[in-house]
Symmetry: C2
Subunit: 128 residues, 2 copies
């Protein structure tokens, strides 16, 4: 496991700009360490970037992603906070389950659409 990644290494790996990574840092999603002014990304930072990109693909906003990332961290020490956290996690999961239903429906409709196209091609005497 590498010790540090430079900002451009990560931009290449995840196909995003340096601006984007700095923006995520401003937004409190990342906190790479510094050598002088230069950012050094640890493997854990790189993993955070992965999670951020995953969140993006699922259509979560920056603040939603921030919330989700909070959930992955060490659980809080206080009972009230813990219970609150559990409730929030359950909400996010419900959110994701809705997305899953949406996803399956969309996939099913696309399957149907493709089938129609294939049939139409067959009618036209094209061998698929």
């Amino acid at each position: 496991m590498r010790e540090y990644y430079s900002i451009t290494e990560l931009t290449r790996e995840f196909d995003i700009s340096t601006r984007t990574l700095r923006f995520y840092e401003d937004e409190g999603l990342l906190a790479p360490i510094r050598r002088g002014r230069t950012r050094l990304f640890r493997p854990s930072d790189r993993h955070l970037v992965k999670q951020i990109m995953r969140g993006k693909r699922l259509g979560f906003s920056i603040s939603e992603i921030r919330e989700i990332i909070q959930m992955y961290k060490e659980p809080p020490g206080e009972v009230g906070q813990l219970k609150l956290m559990i409730r929030r996690i359950e909400e996010k999961r419900e959110d994701l389950r809705q997305k899953r239903r949406d996803l399956e429906e969309t996939l099913a409709e696309l399957d149907q659409a493709e089938e129609s196209c294939v049939e139409r091609l067959a009618e036209l005497g094209v061998n698929t």
Copy 2:
């Protein structure tokens, strides 16, 4: 099945604003008929709104949603167009499968996070 829905009926059903529905019309996603200047939404328009909201929840942009909606329509008559359409559908499906992987991973991590919280509560002697 109702014949027509008013704009406000749909805003209430889907919890969106009239501005949003008109915006979708401007963007070519909807084309309700008119009585005078007033929009009348048919069941098919209402169904389109459902599909749009689904797309939104999955993080698709307006133009991606427009593309997907195109795919649900009658398949084109020309062989080249049909083959192109099939390729596009396959791309969208790959996109959705990626989202599904992202989703499952996120759900798994949230499960883990919740478990940590529950354990922590147990340590603190709280009965869940």
